[in-house]
Amino acid sequence: MRNLLVRLAGHLVRALVMIWVVATFTFFLIRLMPGDPVAAQYEKLVQQGMSPDAARNATRLTYGFLPTGSGWDQYVHYLWRLLHFDFGRSTQTLGVNASAEVLTGAKWTIGLVLAGILISFALGTVLGVIAAIRRSSGVGDALTITGSLFHAIPQFVMALVLITVFTVIWPVFPTDGNVDILVDPGFNGPYVASLVSHASLPALAYALSMFGSYLLTMRSSVISVLGDDFVLAAELRGLTRTMRLRYIARNALLPLFTIFALTIGFMFGGAVFIEKAFNYPGMGITLINSIGHRDYSTMNATFLLITAAVIVANIVADLLYTAIDPRVRRGGEAVA
């Protein structure tokens, strides 16, 4: 237990440092971007038919939400606010807390990502075990090549295909949004069903684009575990096949936690593609919009949130590892 706490403390310190670095990096990077929120808003208003004067007036307020002072002052101010979990105000939805903006989207993205991970993990590991056990047969080869291909096919291609198939050719899934607005919100059947049906295609896109990498990792992991002595030992002790498979699977799963952490970052990044393709209002859409509107606070908050998600995933993966692997949990060394 103490071991675990020490690990956790170390993680937290590193996480904070990393968040600071990313916060700093993005802060300055974002300020290098050409364009400013006022100009972007002004043009939009004028195109919506507002007169130039009116548009100028309407955008004047936005200036009030832009940081002032030297770059350094802005940075210090920004860090100071970060310490209070204040991510600043959005300039796109003027005056609204950037963190609220991002969290609204993040909620949906996290749901999708988790669903995607769950499906791809289940699919990938099961197929990975099969591919490993049947590795010298055609089934194994086919699975491996399929895994590699799916691993390579990116999310947006997957999304395009799914959209074309399931909303145009065979329209069984809704095309956009996260829930049917007409359904009363709350924990009731139709609402949950609506949530699920809206999430299914994007989640599937995630899953299909991810399971290949789980499959490949699981395959090589199982192959390596199959070579471990204890597997043969279990056979020679007369353990049943199911029991042995369970031994193998549990040991083979360990390396997947590391991959899992990497995947999280990848999936949150991929949210931009998936959400854009399915018009699913998550963090990716928030990010695209905030970039388009040069909404600095929201951009910063999005970056930090994704970073935090990756870091948390890493920590979770490590803790899972610790929980499952007694070699880590109960001190690092053997007695002799």
Partner: protein
């Protein structure tokens, strides 16, 4: 494994000439499986397309707005685009930007990733900590969002910048993997022996460590190419990259924006670059399988 039987990989472990040319060796390994040959042929085809292809067409491709979104026909094998330009011509002339950028990015990733991974893993201690923190940063910072922001900063007027930017943001996981491989190789006696013999760090890294991580590096190089092609094309798909030259990403982006997925009109325009990418991916996937054997003399034997 308990099985103490040493299973030979071939009929006779007699002399394998050691210093056989790399290419001959490659060919030998490829020949073992038809899938590998297929992969190599596909990849070679695309290389030729990227290198030679653009010279076959005029700098400015002819347009024919009256014949936009045409389906495949005798005069336009893969149909036409939104202003009646031949899709095949676009595909061929557009391959160079995409491929060059992806190869540069992959090379960048592999060179930086391997370099840092090897150095950090071999050196350990201070340099390792510093480099790994940088690597963590590269891994942690969300890549695609970063590219979205960078795409407003850079003009990506040529594949070189495109490739460099992609590569610079993507080397983290390679570095980490190479480092952990290096750490485990470091425990192997031959590294210790090389140091004991007074061989320089440069020598140890280049001659002892590098050949042992080579299969991994080669696989990554190949796979990175596909990853970067997709990333590039994905950015074009998102519409965040300016299109300054013909390339596949622009084709997909234009086709999708023109509603090909909805109307089916100009399907060939959308599918051509997609299929090209998938084919290249398949080629690379099939080829990757051979890398272990190419670089590992132990597996290479007949």
């Amino acid at each position: 494994m308990v099985t103490a039987v040493e299973i030979p990989t071939g009929n006779t472990p007699a002399l394998t000439p050691a210093r056989r040319g790399f290419w001959r060796n490659l060919w030998r390994v490829l020949r073992r499986k038809p899938t590998r040959v297929a992969g190599a042929v596909i990849v070679a085809l695309f290389v030729v397309m990227g290198v030679v292809g653009p010279f076959l067409y005029p700098a400015n491709l002819p347009t024919d707005p009256g014949n936009a979104y045409a389906g495949p026909s005798g005069s336009h094998l893969l149909g036409t685009d939104f202003q009646g330009t031949d899709v095949l011509a676009l595909l061929v002339t557009g391959s160079r930007y995409v491929l060059v950028a992806a190869v540069i990015a992959a090379a960048c990733t592999v060179v930086v990733g391997t370099g840092i991974g090897l150095y950090a893993g071999y050196r350990r201690g201070g340099p390792d900590s510093v480099l790994m923190r940088i690597t963590d940063f590269i891994i942690t910072i969300p890549g695609l969002p970063l590219l979205l922001v960078l795409s407003t900063l850079w003009k990506y007027s040529n594949p070189l910048t495109m490739g460099l930017v992609l590569g610079v943001t993507g080397w983290g996981s390679v570095a980490r993997a190479v480092r952990s491989q290096t750490l485990s190789l470091r425990e192997r006696g031959f590294i210790e022996a090389a140091r004991g013999l007074g061989l320089s760090t440069a020598h140890v890294v280049r001659k002892e460590l590098l050949p042992n991580v080579a299969p991994y590096v080669a696989m990554n190089l190949l796979i990175s190419v596909t990853v970067y092609i997709y990333l590039e094309v994905g950015l074009f798909f998102l519409g965040v990259l300016p299109f300054n030259e013909n390339n596949w990403g622009v084709m997909i982006s234009q086709a999708v924006q023109n509603g090909v997925t909805q109307t089916g009109q100009g399907l060939a325009y959308l599918l051509s670059p997609l299929v090209a990418i998938l084919l290249l991916t398949l080629g690379i996937v099939l080829l990757v399988d051979a890398m272990d054997e190419v670089f590992n003399p132990r597996l290479r034997e007949d």
